[in-house]
Amino acid sequence: MSGMVLREVLRPRATTSTLIELERLVVDYVLPSGRVRAVDGIDLRIEPGEIVGLAGESGCGKSTTAQAVMQILRSPAQVTSGRILFRGEDLTGLGKEELRKFRWRNVSMVFQSAMSALNPVLRIGDQFVDMMKAHERVSKNDALARAGDLLELVGIDRRRVRAYPHELSGGMRQRTIIAMALALEPELVIMDEPTTALDVVVQREILQQIQDLQRELGFAVLFITHDLSLLLEFADRIAIMYAGEIVERTTAATLFGNPLHPYTVGLMRSFPPLTGPMERMTGIPGTPPDLAAPPAGCRFHPRCPHCRVEDAALYARQTTERPVLREIEPAHHVACHLFE
């Protein structure tokens, strides 16, 4: 990589090696009509170099979680309680300038809509330069050279540095965004639905690219998507989110072989496998709950096939008591009354 010297990446107050630790994180949207709890007390840990997947339906709070980690929540969203620790340092306590330096150097993000994530009136190269100059002392020429390197890294001709965003195809734009995310060699890259807006063939290519880059550069990934099948192939560990809570959390292999939570089971059955024999698909009946007024007790109970009035005792618990995330077997956590 040409030209740039990166300063020591470890933050001064780092205490542990765990990259990200979310402790009982609660994020609310404060509206005049009341508070809507988008993320309700989740715990998640990301270690260096691992790929953690966060799966769930639209509106379950996964993007909000990502924004909270990057500390780019936009009002009316705010972190109500809980901690977001980066290598042991609480991010919510950082000042504005410290946060500015933290962003992108340590954690970067790949947005879903690459179509609109690039400034339409600036050249691609200039947008790279902007970012580098905001964090490092570097001349424009060196920054542009490095931008060219990054573009080549993701498989784009380096002469495209002079192009405007509208002159690139959708796939190229998404790869540019990924290149930008890697520019400062962060330790964690959050990817929020990076391939959803692309067609299947391009999707495959991009995922392959991400995998190759991850192996070469060794950054951790928080991969957010509603498509569980991608995670099963790609992630090391997976957490399933529903209505603002994590309902199941384990390694990808375990999840594939032994999904426990009824929602996870439903998700697994709702897409056809890319390879293998054709099976019957089922959907999950009902719709996600309104987070302004979530169901009492287990939030999934209105849609759960195992929640029946006949099983009186169980039913009573499912409708009044919120299940807690418990370790059912080694490294496999589930929040479900069926497993207590």
């Binding site: 933290f102 905001a134 002159e167």
Partner: protein
């Protein structure tokens, strides 16, 4: 490039439409415009040029001439720059009067409007970026209220308070009495001094509109994904506000510049009237009062052409600022 050609074509057609409307107006007006004119001409003028009445009759179409040949004749006249003789400034040709007064108006509008645009969009950008902040709570309502005041009222207020009472600025004409216009320092200083107040009025009247326009677009632009990404990348706040949000948000107001220019022209007439500033606005008003039809018609055309030219300049600027149009 295709974009510009299309715009040019549009302007050419609009210009043709304006010329045609100009041709039709006296012929459509109820009553005979000529009678009003006749009553204002002095006997000596009539005696001096006995053919003038016939010429005017032909010019205004009071004689029942066949329409198309008259139209063709009119077009030829317009494109050769012959707008006839001004009746209220007899025997000065109209084109000479226009040539004398147009530069002053262009100076006024040029400086004033550009300043208003820069000030308005600049404050609008800052106001939207920090909503509810000091700039937003004070400057926004203040400039908008000023903008809603009728231009001539604001002008009169300025004349009274700043001109008469405070005596800071002269309140009439474009330069002091006894000074000859030309490339000399005395004239330049005097012209500048006389121009401050009118330009100030223009800025006050129009900055508010730009401010609101820019502010509204900025508020929507701020929600865009590339702003979120720019913030996430750790860019400095001011840079995101100007190069990311502002650079994009300025595009819609820029297209609105063209339509605002029409309103600016209206304001110009009032301001020149109040300040007795010898530009085309005052000339139009005097000409209208004196039923000097050759002059008023010519001026109407001049105004329309100015609007078109302003539009064209804006289009050029737009092509420079928005790369997406260049490849379209």
């Amino acid at each position: 490039m295709r974009f510009l050609l299309r715009r040019l074509g549009f302007y050419a057609i609009a210009l043709w439409g304006a010329i045609t409307l100009n041709f039709l107006l006296p012929r459509l007006a109820p009553g005979s415009p000529l009678d009003g004119l006749m009553s204002r001409l002095s006997p000596s003028q009539l005696a001096a040029n006995p053919h003038m009445v016939d010429n005017l009759r032909a010019y205004l179409g009071v004689q029942k001439q066949p329409l198309l040949p008259a139209y063709w004749g009119y077009l030829k006249q317009v494109f050769s720059g012959d707008f006839g003789i001004s009746t209220s400034n007899f025997p000065t040709p109209v084109s000479e009067i226009v040539g004398r007064t147009l530069p002053y108006s262009i100076a006024l509008v040029g400086v004033g409007f550009v300043l208003a645009f820069l000030l308005g969009t600049g404050i609008g950008m800052i106001a939207a970026w920090r909503r509810g902040g000091i700039v937003d709570s004070i400057a926004t309502p203040a400039l908008i209220s000023f903008g809603a005041f009728p231009a001539f009222f604001t002008a009169l207020l300025a004349v009274y308070f700043l001109g008469l009472k405070a005596g800071w600025f002269p309140i009439q004409h474009a330069y002091g009495t006894g000074i000859t216009p030309g490339p000399n320092w005395t004239y330049a200083k005097s012209a500048f001094h006389h121009g401050v107040l009118p330009v100030l009025i223009i800025v006050f009247v129009f900055a508010g509109g730009w401010l609101l326009n820019m502010r509204n677009v900025m508020i929507n632009t701020v929600e865009e994904d590339y702003i979120a990404l720019a913030n996430a990348k750790g860019l400095r706040d001011r840079r995101v506000m100007t190069m990311y949000a502002g650079r994009n948000a300025i595009l819609p107001p820029l297209t609105g510049f063209a339509s605002q220019f029409g309103a600016a022209v209206g304001g110009l007439v009032f301001i020149e009237f109040v300040f007795s500033y010898p530009g085309v606005g005052l000339t139009l008003q005097q000409a209208a009062l004196g039923s000097d039809y050759p002059l008023t018609q010519a001026l109407l055309l001049v105004f329309s052409v100015c609007v078109l030219v302003a539009n064209l300049i804006m289009d050029l600027l737009y092509v420079v600022l928005d790369p997406r149009v260049r490849t379209a």
